[in-house]
Subunit: 284 residues, 2 copies
DNA sequence: ATGAGGGCATAAGCTGCAGTTATGAGCAGC
DNA sequence: GCTGCTCATAACTGCAGCTTATGCCCTCAT
């Protein structure tokens, strides 16, 4: 995969091989075996370099998504590994750790390649404790209240959105859904007590009706995609499903389905150094 | 990766191993070596099964993205391979082949596991030719006009959106951008002649000013993310960047930056069988 | 023209990893 | 206590993918 991207970038098998720290025959044989598997030529080899064919460009674009996901995974994995002796220790609540942090870490790595980052994931309260006990330098929490003793800055809003499979009647709806209507409809939801469920219950006045209760965001998404019914999910969780129209967002009126995502740090100790850098990444 | 997902799903290393067609010791050792690499326990093993730890759940969620990207890649790759003797032969223009088709193929595969699909990617004209010559059963094109001799159905709209890095002044803008303002500002663009460029030029009356011209959507995105300037891109291309706020969308007034995405087939020959199934997937 | 240099392919050999089989141990429930 | 599930450990094995070594082709500069 990376090899294809490198070939696209450098226009040469040997060059790409060098970049990945392997030898030219190894690169050549990899590409060859991939072409054999697909039954399609991916690169045009000429005595003065190699270019991707049309099919190669398509495959490379598909491959790029895998590589990017792998980079994010790797950045996150590094952070889990580096427990001790890291220059920057981050504590984050689950949603942020899950959806946003890997991307930030990738970006941070490109700016400060030698900075070891460690990550502790937990709920808002535990993020607060880590910061106050000095176990973490910078925290990220979602939700309404900021733990005591911390300063904070809002870095983004996480909107909860109502989604359905494209086949559902609501998918064609143009007039926004009223809060009462949402409250009256059985929804696919996380179990009571989860962060998104709390926000939803608060917004509707504790009235959300479960159609099914599932214990993970993924399970909820899968149920919604399969058309089991409407659901309410963080827009972070469904970005890709919306883009490919596996899910459709339903407009909603007069319901405050948003929560702030905040960076937090001990009162008075403004983030400096790598923490400052990371913080600035999260706001742009 | 898949192994982690399977463990999460089945609650047992051995069960996960069986599902992946490997033996239990192999699975055990894989997980073990991953835990060694990360320095964190991923699964809680007990004599009556295994559950993911908190860290394991986090890692698994990150891994899921890779696996999904890989599935899409695989579905696309299959389709490139199956040239001959496929039950369903699809022709698609590049944007659709790049961003949407892999997802559709994954969904189709789950509905019709044994249907071999082949894919021919090209521009609108070549899609038309393939259909008329009987080389393809169903086509997908983007753009304003439908090639002659074909019936079509609009399956989605592809909106072009103005994006900037979060640091750019436009990112904070609330008042929509006027067309004139957009036309007057140098933009990061694809080269003249590309599909998105054509739509943009048409919408602005041929006036788009390039700040830089780049030859691939990826390069344009990278430039925009790095803050080189504003750009205009398909929302399909920037879904993930928007969700993670690496890019921000700028509201635009009075410019028709949309194009229809259409399914097409030879006039009179309504899609049947797997073609119909695929078509219905694309609309929900 | 000719030789140097960069690009790719092929062949042969080596190595390590990821898998296998085989076995044992812990715990639950009948 | 037996059966059946879980997981761990150990020793063996095979093959995928690498490296090194070489050759050919083309281009460009001398």
């Amino acid at each position: 995969m990376e090899l294809l991207l490198a070939v696209a970038r450098l226009g040469s098998l040997g060059g790409a091989a060098r970049e990945l720290g392997i030898t030219q025959p190894a690169a050549s044989s990899r590409v060859r075996s991939m072409e054999r598997q697909l039954g399609v030529a991916l690169v045009d080899r000429s005595p003065r370099g190699s270019r991707l064919t049309d099919a190669g460009a398509l495959v490379t674009d598909w491959a790029r998504r895998i590589v990017e996901a792998a980079e994010a995974f790797d950045a996150g994995a590094q952070a889990l590994r580096d427990r001790r002796d890291s220059r920057l220790r981050v504590a984050a609540s689950m949603t942020i750790a899950e959806y946003l942090l890997p991307g930030w870490l990738v970006a941070l790595r490109s700016q400060l390649p030698d900075t070891a980052v460690s990550l502790l994931a937990g709920n808002s309260a535990s993020v607060g404790e880590r910061l106050l006990s000095g176990e973490a330098d910078l925290g990220f929490v979602e939700g309404v209240s900021v733990p005591a003793g911390l300063d904070s800055a809002v870095i983004a809003r996480d909107r909860l959105i109502v989604v359905t499979a494209p086949g559902h009647p609501w998918a064609r709806r143009r007039r926004p859904l009223a809060a009462a209507e949402l409250a009256a409809t059985p929804l696919i939801l996380r179990e009571k007590g989860s962060g998104t469920r709390q926000v939803l219950d608060a917004a509707l006045g504790g009235l959300a009706r479960p159609l099914i209760e599932l214990s993970s965001t993924t399970a909820v998404k899968a149920a919604a995609v399969s058309g089991a019914g409407p659901s309410v999910l963080s827009e972070l969780a469904v970005g890709e499903e919306l883009a490919t129209r596996r899910l459709v967002s339903v407009p909603v009126a007069d319901v405050a389905l948003a929560r702030d995502l905040r960076a937090v740090w001990p009162t008075g100790h403004r983030p400096t150094g790598p923490a400052r850098q990371l913080l600035s990444l999260t706001r742009g």
